[in-house]
Subunit: 410 residues, 2 copies
């Protein structure tokens, strides 16, 4: 009897190894026919005859039904996935950057029977892509807000709970393997934005690219804004936000003030969370570990069964409900910490409620358009500035109202 | 053009009306051809010519593809759903009691092309049935614990936050429409158990009936155990639990002590939550409103699209992984408050750590088999006793250890 699903695995890192281990441990009806890796010399836990070094060996193997792509390099992954789809393979990937940057093109490559599934790309083990696609497919989504990056959340949790500064917390995260040696993809908000872009397609039918949307990271965070938040009993979280406003959808990734009663304030350490506000469903919160070999591999396994036995993702809102348009025409209440007065003039605040400029530090509390903020993303990053959104607060004006503020400040 | 999905709706209460309203408001491609209701005389928001009073009119209408069953009476619903499936209809229901009591029989009635979907039956708008069936279908589930009944959780929240006693809190819940005039289905734990039984099938491949499993409600809760919990900084929640232990699965519904750091302790008011602990996925928490017209109707709508466009539920673990058996052979740490000493002798505690019997009240802290507890469910209910599980506590022995306890008691 040979009704096993024949799989070609590309990549044997943390998730690839996790996937391989589960397949073995649970005696799943999968046959991993071939594993493609880059380096011939790396020490690996299984013998060398499992491996190939040419991904074309997997694509051209007519016996292989499902290609599981689990490598880091998003451009190389794109080439492989593209060829797999053109060859009519069912492709399962965890590569968020690749999917976010090329989703529309990939969706068009399925005429030969190829299918593409990527649950593991968004918040690791949390089943949010499938749920967005298959459950919320006809629900008008008002808002998505979430914590999509475990490394950043771990760092912010350590700062908040253990009183570390950003550099100390980053070091601790790196020691524990929660952050890469080059952590900018995580702490710069790019990983979070990639995931948000994928959800925008399933939640609103909008395909866009990560670089078109405003992304501010936590890497420039300083004690000044941490103390500002602490005095007001707020936390700072790196939050992905998508908001629907009539027929427009706005989205951004940004450090955000969060009240302690807000659902996202309870999501700490390496945990992820997605808060979905539907017009009829009301608020749903999904939390879980957003990364790690086993949780992510569990999503890969669910995808393999789905791609073999079921139709493709619906993409219902993308195919049939193209009534929403993406726009950066949103005015956001933010806190901006700057270093030199000439930096401030770049920002074009629409309104300034409060402006502190003294030996305790410089900051502005005001309203700014998302479009402006987007055009200043690189400037913020390079100059070591930080912008923190107040849009999640129930009464953001309390941050700005001098009287209310004086009461709050200790 | 007439590619609308033709629907026969049975029931026009809170959820039925909510469903009807969404279909109208969102211009969904549904045609509600006929609505079956029981009473001819009731005042309704739409004109009488929409209605029929014979459900057979709907079953025998060859044009109707999907039957949406949203009535309260579970036995009447069973008859209708059964006939619908035999007639090859796709049936969507929110009737948890009906599904829980008859799932195995209903699963066998699909040879004529009938399909049965029931997302709305478990925690209203929270998409847990589909997710359990389609995402966790190959994940070994270690444990499920959850708050599945909004009325009971609302009552317990009012007791805890507002210092009401049980009767006052119940009255408030009834005034707000969160509890039925006969609230026993909710507060007695039966509604919670119905939902747990449905999940047992998808999570573990086990079909059983609600009456075979131990169900203790909150209706006999008194200030004695509320103070006991408060002194130890614990909350009491009505919790559904399923635990896997090698090839056995145990399940019970019971008031449970919960530490304030536990995810379920944050779930208050009418909210529901499901905590799923997978071997590989680790802990996932899903929270949202578990009831109400619009959230529940949103699940009905998702089911209609699913039943029309997709294969049936997988029931993978039920069909292919029949390696687990249900068993009540579990020893549970519990708190039991009793009134008279002769009641205690009925329980057959396996071990008693602490026994208080004085003017401050009578209780036992000890270990009891789930099987014993199950056989005493009716006795507990009738005699006004209450049992509270300590199985969710990280260190249940702390409740029992005299030294640790003395420190805890103020």
């Amino acid at each position: 009897m040979d009704d096993k699903i024949k799989i070609g695995l590309i990549g044997f890192g943390c998730v690839g190894q996790g996937f391989y281990d589960i397949v073995k441990a649970e005696s799943l009806p999968f046959e991993i026919r071939s594993i493609c890796v880059k380096s011939r010399d790396k020490q690996r836990s299984i013998s060398a005859d499992h491996f190939t070094y040419q991904y074309q060996d997997i694509i051209s193997d007519a016996e292989i039904e499902v290609v599981v792509e689990l490598i880091d390099d998003s451009e190389a992954a794109f080439k492989m996935v593209k060829q797999g789809l053109i060859a009519g393979k069912k492709v399962v990937t965890a590569n968020k950057k690749m999917v976010a940057e090329h989703l529309e093109e990939l969706m068009a490559l399925k005429e030969n029977g190829g299918k593409l599934w990527y649950e593991a790309a968004v918040c690791g083990g949390i089943p949010i892509v499938k749920t967005m696609d298959q459950f919320y497919n006809h629900e008008p989504i008002q808002e998505i807000s979430g914590i999509f990056n475990g490394s950043s959340n771990y760092i912010l949790s350590r700062i908040e709970s253990d009183g570390l500064d950003y550099q100390q917390a980053l070091k601790k995260a790196q020691e524990l393997g929660f952050a890469e040696s080059n952590p900018l993809l995580d702490v710069g908000g790019y990983d979070t934005m990639n995931k948000l872009v994928i959800l925008l397609c399933h939640a609103y039918g909008i395909t866009t690219t990560p670089s078109s949307l405003s992304t501010v990271g936590i890497q420039n965070i300083s004690t000044q804004e941490l103390e500002f938040a602490q005095k007001r009993n707020l936390k700072i979280k790196l939050v992905a936000t998508a908001i629907r406003n009539h027929d427009q959808v706005h989205a951004f990734v940004m450090p955000s003030f969060v009240e302690r009663t807000h659902d996202l304030s309870q999501v700490n350490d390496e945990f992820n969370a997605v808060l979905v506000r539907g017009k009829y469903t009301d608020d749903h919160l999904f939390t879980g570990k957003g990364a790690g070999g086993a949780p992510t591999a569990a999503s890969v396994i669910a995808d393999i069964y789905a791609t073999v036995g079921k139709p493709d993702y619906d993409y219902y809102k993308w195919h049939d409900e193209r009534d929403l348009a993406y726009s950066n025409e949103l005015v956001l209440p933010i806190y901006l910490r700057y270093n030199h007065p000439d930096e401030l003039s770049e920002f074009g605040f629409e309104h300034i409620w409060r402006h502190q400029q003294n030996e305790n530090g410089n900051y502005v509390l005001g309203k700014i358009s998302l479009d402006n903020l987007w055009s200043l993303n690189a400037f913020i990053e390079e100059r070591g500035l930080i912008a923190v959104s107040a849009s999640l607060l129930q009464q953001p004006q309390k941050l700005f109202d001098k009287k209310a503020q004086e009461k709050l400040v200790v």
